[in-house]
């Protein structure tokens, strides 16, 4: 894995210098990793879109990669941020859509994704669902979420961490 990461880092440095062949290799390998990453964390319909989003983000932000540092954490940070952002948007759509209502303007997959997120959150412990909803989906800080839920700040962190891990397991078990 470390060797693989070094190779990806070298490919990115070459891509930053305008080498198209290296860049294609990099994107193909990044695509494989991103596909695994998002399939484990998102409903199936959203995973392919998320991969495309992440590839475009990697493309746009490739100048921010520092060749002296490992590539994996750089790509992982971008992928994770876009995942959380997508979860937030899905949550907002879920809140905006009245039950059984289809305005005709919202594409069907988005409504399905929103329903999936609501269904997945409902399967978590209430404290974990609250922590994820406030911190990851609505963007409150750990301290603000602690004040709103009555949980301590360390407990919020633990509930977010455990809740996300459980969400991943739920998505994976739902697929298998």
């Amino acid at each position: 894995m470390r060797r693989d990461e070094r190779e990806l880092g070298v490919l990115m440095v070459l891509a930053q210098q305008g080498d198209a062949v290296s860049y294609r290799l990099l994107l193909e390998r990044a695509r494989a990793w991103l596909t695994r990453y998002y399939r484990a964390r998102l409903p199936a319909a959203a995973a392919e879109d998320a991969v495309q989003d992440a590839l475009v983000a990697i493309h746009n932000k490739r100048a921010t990669y520092d060749g002296l540092r490992p590539f994996g954490p750089w790509m992982g940070a971008i992928a994770r941020f876009l995942w959380i952002d997508r979860l937030r948007r899905m949550e907002r759509r879920a809140e905006g859509a009245a039950p059984g209502e289809d305005s005709g303007f919202e594409p069907r997959p988005a409504l399905d994704d929103a329903a999936d997120i609501a269904r997945l959150l409902a399967q978590l412990k209430p404290a974990q669902a609250d922590a994820i909803r406030l911190v990851k989906l609505q963007g409150y800080s750990i301290e603000e979420a602690a004040g709103m839920t009555g949980q301590s700040a360390p407990l919020i962190k633990v509930n977010v961490h455990r809740g996300l891990a459980r969400l991943m397991r739920l998505v994976q078990s739902g697929r298998s």
């Binding site: 198209a20 989003d53 940070a77 971008i78």
Partner: protein, 231 residues
């Protein structure tokens, strides 16, 4: 299969293009220097600064605003990278050091004036307006830099950029401000900075957030007509 098309398009877009170097990082500092130069050119610089004999309060407020601007600016620039997670404590330490030094200077030169006369609210409101006007171009420079970066902590980046911009605006005004009371400086400069930071946090968080924007360079346009993301 549509992702293959996207990869083709991205490779075409990137081929033969060197990535821009980091010279833009100096942009906020250049803007502050330009604003200071404008003060000099328009003759608004304090006479004691021209003469090289500023009072302790003037020296303190210039050093204090410069310190906060540099620390917050450094924090904002570090946050452009998705893998850098700088700590927030340097900014808190700088703020505490600034306030402590101000308190010491105030204690060394106690004023006999009543509180309202020391605070001069009418001039204070003018001070807020000038600091905000000075902060705006610096904030624009930070927005440009942060949007080119890939921050995964947009709220922290927006806050740091707001703080650096506010301190820069205050620094430039500190070179011209005629009032030397530490209490006045602490209250009005801090109030102006707080307003700018709150506005920055509210408005810039979404602006500087990492977003996958489809590139629109020539060669991509044909593919863009097909629609993106490609489902």
């Amino acid at each position: 299969m549509r992702t293959d098309t996207l990869i083709d398009a991205l490779v075409v877009d990137a081929s033969g293009r060197m990535q821009p170097r980091g010279w833009l990082v100096g942009l906020p500092f250049a803007v502050v220097a330009l604003e200071a130069a404008a003060l000099v050119v328009t003759g608004q610089l304090r006479p004691d600064l021209w003469a090289g004999t500023p009072s302790a309060v003037v020296g303190w407020r210039i050093a204090a605003t410069a310190l906060v601007a540099v620390v917050a600016g450094w924090l904002a620039l570090r946050l452009r990278s998705p893998v850098r997670t700088p700590r927030d404590w340097p900014i808190l330490l700088a703020a505490v050091a600034v306030l402590l030094a101000g308190w010491l200077i105030d204690a060394a030169h106690p004023s006999s004036l009543p509180l309202l006369a020391r605070l001069r609210p009418a001039k204070g409101l003018h001070c807020i307006a000038v600091v905000t006007a000075g902060a705006f171009p610096v904030m624009a420079a930070f927005v440009l830099l942060l949007r080119r970066g890939a921050t995964v902590r947009p709220r922290a980046a927006a806050t740091a950029a707001g703080m650096a911009s506010a301190a820069s605006g205050a620094l430039v005004w500190a070179l011209a401000c005629p009032i030397d009371d530490p209490l006045y400086v602490v209250l009005w400069y801090a109030l102006a900075s707080a307003l700018i930071v709150v506005a920055s946090r509210a408005w810039l968080t979404e602006v500087v957030k990492l977003r996958p924007r489809c590139p629109v360079r020539e060669g991509m346009r044909r593919r863009l007509r097909e629609g993106w993301p490609w489902r």
